[in-house]
């Protein structure tokens, strides 16, 4: 009997130890880089000789980094708008009971998520070269819309799976035109799904580097593209400063996603009642 009781406790301690070490492995690199961005000296070691904001100043004073930041924001915003619009429409179509060939259509619509990004990048580079879309923000927006849209399709489809289509029938029996019913009944219900899809699309574009490596010239460099050069050529603590800002950004993003999901779950429960 003692054995039966003590063994699980030992098991539990071991599990916490193993799990804790793995969590440490996951979090430590991200946490370790943050203080180094405040290092007064350009070294990557602890203990740091002093604190300074010089690497942040360098980031905000550098034309190259500022251009990269601006390009990233422009491209991500337009790619998000476009992929959210197209993706939401497609997801509504896919969730209609009448949708034909659903499996095939879904496979095509989410294929940009499955195809290895290097294959997409080379293909898009090859095709965009032929139509003059290389070295343009438009080209980047189009490419990022393609790889961001599947995230919208998946999140909105998942939200629509629990949507009660009787609501639409009720709306139309009360005289609402299909467009009106969609905008006033369906859209508010699926809004959290649309919003999280949009966030996914934004982050996908904001973090995308392989396609940017292929189709963006030096004037269209994005933030990840600039970081890639930074890590490859001269690794300066400016990278650590940019990384810290991006970690802050992803923390905000994660918090928003969690909030949206919790809201969607609450809504689901409310509907069931």
């Amino acid at each position: 009997m003692t054995n039966f009781l003590s063994f699980p406790r030992l098991f539990s301690i071991l599990l916490w130890l193993a799990g804790g070490l793995v969590i440490l492995f996951l979090i430590a690199p991200i946490v370790a880089i943050v203080p180094l961005s405040f290092n007064a000296e350009p070294f990557f070691t602890y203990p740091m000789p002093g604190l300074s904001l010089r690497w942040y100043r360098e980031f905000f004073d550098s034309n190259v980094w500022q251009l990269a930041l601006k390009n990233s924001i422009i491209v991500a915003v337009f790619a998000t708008l476009l992929s959210t619009f197209l993706g939401t429409l497609a997801a509504i179509g896919l969730s209609r009971p009448s949708c034909p060939a659903r499996a095939t259509l879904t496979a095509i619509l989410i294929s940009p998520m499955i195809v290895p990004v290097i294959v997409s990048a080379v293909g898009i580079y090859y095709a965009f070269a032929a139509v003059g879309l290389l070295n343009s923000l438009t080209g980047l927006v189009l490419a990022h819309t393609a790889i961001g849209a599947p995230f919208v399709v998946i999140t909105v489809t998942a939200t629509l799976a629990s949507f009660d289509h009787n609501l639409m029938r009720a709306a139309s029996s009360l005289g609402a035109a299909p467009v009106e019913a969609t905008l006033r009944i369906m859209l508010p219900v699926i809004a959290p799904g649309v919003a999280s899809g949009a966030l996914f699309a934004f982050v996908t574009s904001f973090d995308e580097v392989v396609i940017a490596l292929f189709i963006a010239g030096s004037e269209e460099r994005t933030l990840p593209r600039q970081m890639w050069s930074g890590v490859r050529e001269t690794l300066s603590p400016t990278i650590a400063a940019v990384a810290t800002l991006l970690i802050l950004f992803s923390t905000l993003f994660l918090a928003t996603i969690q909030w949206l999901q919790r809201r969607a779950e609450r809504q689901k429960i409310a509907h069931r009642d």
Partner: protein, 418 residues
């Protein structure tokens, strides 16, 4: 009576048919409406994504460069027996092509021929430059530029390059080639690099799966066992790296693993490592495995966790109440029940690892580059679209097969993000 019944039946049948027709048209109208909603994204993706990749992949078998640049030569060559000395008609046709065709087309053919035999490129380009001013008889003019034009071997090479489609690149990406008789054989050892790259890609991906499994399984079990706020906090600690930029995480590892980086300086400070010889943790296989495991681990933890969460704890309690020791309860109940999560996570990690480019390129050495690196190399640095397309085809086919397995085992609709 009989007639009336028949009439009734007819009417009923006609009414049925119209009802079916009306239903059918309503159904097809509803189908059309669904399709109209899907159409904008579908057309967009076909134009911006599917078509570009399809066009790229055709480059793997595309061989029209020669037929576009050397039409007269190729028709003259079709009558040639590949053994007798080239005659004046052949030389004249070749001269006409070299004078007429645009330089970039000739350069394309020259590059193409150079894959067959090193040196053909400069030979052909030099000939093309000089022959423009030559007058017949061309035989003497060609031989004056390069005596090799007398040898049938070089004309055979040009003739071999003439069909519109070729399996050359696809074979080459598997380190195979056709000899003069058309039989498929292995390429010489110094040119055989691609199979090694494919094996390496496979080995790295498989190693990452194994490490992810060993690290991810206990973590998933811990989260699944925890309750409420603790489980939530653990989950967020897994999700935060998941949503942190790939380049942030890769740069963090570069900073940590460098010779003068955080880990080495800590080890030196602790006196565990000689300051003159810091550990080689980066630009080698160790660095690739650490960084890729870090990036792909959440993809392993999350599916295993979601399966574990659905295993009722009463099963384990039942097993121990029936006398099973904890180890055997785990091995015979918990492990088999968590296997769907393991296979889902493993396949997902495999699919993602197989196509990785950025992380090995930044933290790996020359011996750690995977197939993606070579696709980038062939398309960016040496502009050999045929090879880039052939390797892309292999990578894509491998991922699609893995994905089909994933779909069979896990189901595409189980694909969840976040």
């Amino acid at each position: 009576m009989v007639i009336a019944t028949m009439n009734d039946g007819d009417e009923a049948r006609i009414a049925d048919r119209t009802r079916v027709k009306r239903l059918g048209s309503a159904k097809s109208k509803a189908q059309l409406r669904a399709l109209l909603l899907i159409a904008p994204l579908l057309i967009f993706l076909l134009l911006v994504f599917v078509l570009p990749i399809a066009v790229l992949l055709t480059r793997a078998v595309d061989n029209r460069a020669a037929s576009a640049a050397l039409p007269y030569t190729l028709s003259a060559l079709s009558a040639w027996d590949e053994e007798s000395a080239p005659d004046e008609a052949l030389f004249a046709a070749f001269a006409t092509d070299l004078k007429q065709s645009p330089r970039d087309q000739i350069a394309e053919v020259a590059k193409r021929l150079n894959y067959y035999e090193t040196g053909m490129r400069s030979m052909l380009l030099k000939t093309a430059r000089t022959i423009r001013n030559a007058k017949p008889p061309y035989n003497a003019a060609f031989v004056a530029i390069d005596p090799k034009w007398e040898t049938p071997h070089y004309w055979t090479l040009i003739k071999n390059a003439s069909p519109p489609f070729t399996d050359y690149y696809l074979l080459a990406s598997l380190d195979l080639e056709r000899d003069a008789s058309g039989a498929i054989g292995r390429v010489s050892a110094e040119n055989a690099v691609h199979v090694d790259v494919l094996i390496r890609t496979f080995v790295v991906s498989a190693s990452v799966i194994v490490i992810c499994l060993f690290l991810g399984y206990p973590l998933a079990a811990l989260i699944a066992r925890s309750k409420g706020a603790v489980a939530n906090a653990l989950l967020i600690l897994v999700l935060l790296p998941f949503w942190t930029s790939l380049l942030v995480r890769t740069s963090a590892w570069v900073v940590l693993l460098q010779g003068r980086g955080v880990i080495n300086s800590a080890l030196i400070w602790l006196g565990l490592v000689d300051p003159a010889h810091p550990l080689d943790l980066i630009y080698n296989r160790i660095g690739v495995l650490i960084a890729m495991t870090h990036i792909l681990l959440p993809f392993m933890v999350l599916p295993i966790y979601s399966v574990m969460k659905s295993i009722p704890p009463v099963y384990l309690r039942a097993a121990s109440s029936l006398g099973a020791p904890p180890m055997s309860a785990f091995l015979r109940i918990y492990l088999p029940m968590s296997m769907p999560g393991v296979s889902a996570g493993g396949l997902l990690v495999f699919i993602l690892a197989f196509g990785y480019y950025i992380t090995p390129a930044l933290v790996g050495g020359p011996g750690d580059q995977m197939v993606s690196y070579f696709i980038a190399y062939y398309s960016n640095q040496v502009t050999n679209w045929g090879m880039a397309a052939a390797l892309s085809t292999i990578l894509l086919v491998a991922v699609l097969i893995l994905y089909a397995v994933y779909n069979r085992i896990v189901g595409i609709d189980r694909l969840r993000i976040g």
